[in-house]
């Protein structure tokens, strides 16, 4: 009797916290939808801000949409190029267990570093390199922000690969590099893809890291060395104006950002289904 009561109580508590989390998600989506949808129109998605946009006149946020995609896409690519060798080293090549532990600890610390710190660091780095706030600067700052997430998430995926699978490759006389590139990466591909997506989502939604490093502009991104706009900053600037129409547009921008992340998640799901075709379970 008592046992059953306990069981029901705890199941009840679990359901309550689940409902709370889902409720928060629904509230966020509802807020963005209700406040943003009325302001959303084709012009917002297809035009850049015109004169007086921030006072409620015509224009759109195409500069921020393309800017964000360029920033997050570039950063994810750059970060992936840095993360893959690190992951392969830690998982396949490293022999010194203490070095591996130290590397993991550093990455975990980096993961915890607030993004404004990456922004400030990126800004210093830009000054040192003699660059100004630019697409390149934003990509570098975001890539650093993504790196620990990417490495740790990819490592989790690699840890799930059965040892026997690697052994099967070694037993044929394959080297560690051949085994890594042809077997391990292939088996891990769907998981690695998910990790990339996680990092991309983190990068595209981040405002603090791009504030000083990428700057802001009303133009479309055309050069790596020019400033670019981004959606989180578009939300931030528009929300800070006293004009109600512009504040509505901030919610519309947030809606666009949310939808982009949603589309990418769904697209990745479909793609990773194709990638799992050859996976061994």
């Amino acid at each position: 009797m008592n046992k059953h009561f306990e069981e029901r109580l705890f199941v009840g508590l679990m359901l309550a916290s689940l409902a709370f989390i889902v409720g928060v998600l629904i509230l966020i989506l509802a807020t963005v939808l209700i406040k943003g949808l009325p302001a959303l129109n084709l012009a917002m998605l297809t035009q850049t801000p015109r004169g007086g946009y921030y006072l409620g006149k015509e224009g759109g946020i195409l500069n921020a949409i393309t800017g964000s995609l360029a920033l997050a896409g570039g950063a994810t690519l750059l970060s992936c190029l840095m993360a893959l060798p690190v992951v392969l080293y830690l998982q396949v090549f490293a022999k010194n267990a203490r070095l591996v532990e130290l590397a993991r600890l550093s990455l975990d610390v980096l993961w915890g570093v607030p993004s404004i710190v990456y922004g400030a660091f990126g800004f210093t780095l830009l000054l040192f390199l003699g660059l100004r706030a630019s697409l390149l600067g934003g990509i570098i700052a975001l890539a650093l922000l993504e790196l620990p997430i990417l490495v740790r998430a990819m490592e989790e995926v690699m840890l799930m690969i059965p040892f026997d699978l690697k052994e099967a490759s070694y037993a044929l006389g394959a080297t560690r590099l051949e085994t890594s590139l042809r077997v391990v990466l292939r088996q891990a591909a769907p998981g690695l893809f998910t990790a990339l997506l996680l990092a991309f989502g983190r990068a595209i939604g981040d405002a603090a890291a791009v504030l000083f490093t990428a700057g802001y502009t009303d133009r479309l991104p055309t050069s790596l060395l020019r400033p670019v706009a981004s959606l989180p900053l578009a939300v931030f600037f528009q929300l800070g104006t006293p004009v109600p129409e512009v504040r509505e547009r901030a919610y519309a921008s947030a809606l666009v950002l949310t939808v982009i992340i949603l589309i990418i998640s769904l697209g990745a799901r479909l793609l990773s289904r194709r990638l799992t075709k050859y996976m061994i379970r």
């Binding site: 699978l165 052994e167 099967a168 006389g173």
Partner: protein, 253 residues
Amino acid sequence: MTNETLIQIRNLNVTYGSQQAVQEVSVDIPAQQITAIIGPSGCGKTTLLRSISRLVELVDGVRVWGEVIFEGQNIYDPRVDVTEIRKRIGLLAQRPFPLPMSIYENVAYGPHIHGIRKRQELDAIVEKQLRAAGLWDEVQSRLHAPASALSIGQQQRLCLARGLAVEPEVLLCDEATSALDPISAQRIEDRLLELKRDYTIVLVTHILRQARRLADYVIFMYLGELIEHGPAEQVFNHPREARTRAYLQGELY
């Protein structure tokens, strides 16, 4: 049938940390015969088998000393290229682990990494080895389907074909039928009897009847030590050691 020695194991020791898995083992493995390593579980059979192609080294914290002399050369010599050794001494593992690729690519993987790039050559190897493994008729119409779609018995024959494709001289089988249904197991056994004409086979088994069916030569291990070895007929019918006799009668676990 020849009685030449292909592999000489001399004073081989393997430790995992403080645990000694193989202790001072010395034995000759005859060429083109099936040698069965038998013994209770945890007696070091698998470790001994895996040290013949240095696969044992992949485990963290392992230490190996002693010699395994394969065609006149100690494979533990630091100058030896370990990938070359593993190419010449293949493995068929306990559970089939196809590579995450198509059936065709699984067989072509080995030859490809060892430098065979011509499509026609690879096609020929794939067909030849799938036939040798007794799988060709079942898969020839779907060579580019994922290997994971095969049944577990078919997967094990695919792994056999994959191993044969690098043209090894020795085939190590680590309880290669224990995860299979009886019919699939029977098929693998038939293949092995067929293959011993061209290959030297060393297998680990805990099924005594399987050892009796297949083995020409038998090595009995107990607690990391080699207790007795000799021609199958002699070890099974006239074991010299009391522990061998006890194991054969099912009294030793």
